[in-house]
Symmetry: C2
Subunit: 348 residues, 2 copies
DNA sequence: CTGAAAGCGCTAACAG
DNA sequence: CTGTTAGCGCTTTCAG
């Protein structure tokens, strides 16, 4: 017998109804289980369905139900390990609730982000998760948030008053500084990502505040983009300065990885002559050499939390606004150590 | 004046038609540009569109046009850097042709893959790109390929005769072996991923064939899964054996990274006491310590090629089947070196 | 150049 | 328990 169990596009609910000798309404109901159908007819319908290889057309269903069961996500870059984890966490949670995710890479560009958002709106996604670009259109995002469930993740845009999932950047930086200062460092520098991003801003503030609490001040602060290359460049500049840091605090792991690279190029041993702290604790932090000490902030959990928030909002559009803050923690590895005596001497 | 340029869901083409004093057909035509519209009316329509913040409902459009402008992708895991790059390459190419991508992680499980495929079918995606799971349902994939454009990427399922983008695994392994043997290695082992995957199979064949061409035989061959942890385990077992390899050839970089980790744990220096070769050349290969020598096979390019193939197929469903094979190349770094004399002595 | 109207495939009242 | 039917919002003939 021929295998007819495979999907066959083009067959409609009408075909099934005819084959089973029932009305389309009945077929619809056996599919959705929305109302009772006599076992015998249900059988016949199901038989017809598999016989014809019928697959309900969800776009038609979406049109009548005016919901698509799809969620749009716009993130800077899937190839960035932090966002890859984030999108993975979100899609796992969403999948469990029968949503499918469409996504777009903004490359941190407001223009691309805006285009994807419009695209997703036109496709009538049920909700959106966005990790805003540096020059995000805060107004568009605010307006959108009033039209449909939208949760911001990892980063906040000015004036955003909706659902939100972020890490506690200031607390994270305090962890980093406490560790470094505890080891005896007094000459600490910060290398940072795009200054317009809330994460960059908050981490800088946290950095400076934590230092001040110890009666210290930053020896240097610079910014660029959240990438390995930028980290390398910023570190090279800093390490070439007259008075160089004994420790570099990076606002994310990619920057820290770049810092490691710079130290290597300049012949500085880490952590012997220079300590380097990362942030995020992506998978490769523990693979770097030396293994990177980092402030952990799991992308997977952040993405999953955002998805859960969105799902709740979808269920209860009127509910109270929620803001979940992920607590960072410190992961000690091999890239930090007490400063070497020579460098310390210069401090006193 | 109030800003009405923002998207306002719920307004339909009918609302626009009423506001502009024209018929819905006309509105449709100014939107699609499908036919000439008198400038004056076009103006009025456009004015009404922005005035009302109208955004065409693409699901309705999809229903009538019976195409969705969306592509489904199912891959093992976005969080795997190789696939993250692959999906990035594909989505960049697809975006340029105005497609949006929905994706699903199969975790290398046939069951999850099958579910996503059905889901995508029901959503009437215009085409599908899949990197099949280890225990993929070859029959389902074949059947699907007859129903709509489907390109297989990175891996092949048995009996697949459709569009395909893969790396030349045998050639890649030959490159690796030539390099290692050229350095004087005679005791070479292979650590591999899931044996059912075509990539694992082809790489093993390439490995053995290349050795045989040099009148050599593998000192050991094992398989597990394409992950860091599995690489670590396989390497530990091998390095604990009576006669240990002077070089380990890994079937991908994650395995190689695990191998590095194992060597470190066992106190073996790389490349001093052990050489390690990777495959794929993911971004982190150059960040590892020592920096990983690897057979390069860019995920981004592979994904982009798959997308281009799919786009061509969408334009010309009847065209000839295409198979693009990405040529691998060798990237020499610091994880391989001639075997140390002691080990060599044991060989002679 | 423009309007009217027939669907696209499904859901959800509304009648029986 | 089941059938009929009016849409969902848009595209696309077919007439003018």
């Amino acid at each position: 017998m021929v295998d007819r169990t495979r999907a066959k596009l083009g067959t409609t609910i009408k075909d099934v109804a005819d084959a089973a000798g029932v009305s389309v309404g009945t077929v619809s109901h056996v599919i959705s289980g929305a109302r009772q159908v006599r076992p015998a007819t249900r059988e016949r319908v199901n038989a017809a369905i598999t016989e014809l290889g019928f697959r309900p057309n969800r776009v038609a269903r979406s049109l009548t139900r005016s919901r698509t069961s799809t969620i749009g996500m716009v993130i800077p870059d899937v190839a960035n390990p932090f966002f890859a984890q984030l999108i993975r966490g979100a899609s796992d949670a969403l999948e469990a609730s029968d949503y499918v995710v469409v996504f777009g890479n903004s490359d941190n560009l407001g223009a691309k982000e805006r285009r994807y958002l419009v695209e997703f709106i036109e496709r009538r996604v049920d909700g959106v998760i966005v990790a805003p670009a540096s020059n995000a259109d805060a107004e568009q995002i605010r307006d959108l948030g009033e039209q449909l469930p939208l949760v911001l993740v990892d980063r906040v845009t000015p004036g955003w008053l909706g659902d939100l999932v972020v890490g506690d950047d200031q607390a994270g930086m305090a962890l980093a500084i406490d560790h470094l200062v505890g080891q005896g460092h007094r000459q600490i520098a910060l290398i940072n990502g795009e200054g317009e991003l809330s994460t960059a801003r908050e981490r800088r503030i946290g950095f400076e505040r934590a230092l001040r609490a110890r009666d210290l001040a930053a020896i240097a602060v610079s910014e660029g983009s959240f990438s390995i290359e930028s980290g390398r460049e910023q570190a090279i500049t800093m390490l070439g300065a007259e008075v160089r840091p004994t420790a570099i605090c990076a606002a994310n792991d990619l920057l820290a990885l770049g810092g490691l690279q710079a130290a290597h190029e300049l012949g500085l041993s880490v952590p012997g002559q220079l300590s380097v702290m990362g942030y995020d604790d992506i998978a490769y932090a523990s693979l770097a050499s030396p293994r990177l000490t980092s402030v952990s902030q799991p992308g997977y959990a952040i993405g999953a939390a955002a998805a859960r928030l969105l799902i709740e909002r979808l269920r209860d559009p009127g509910g109270a606004r929620q803001e979940v803050v992920i607590r960072p923690s410190l992961v000690l590895r091999d890239s930090t150590a007490p400063p070497d005596p020579g460098a310390l001497g210069r401090t006193g």
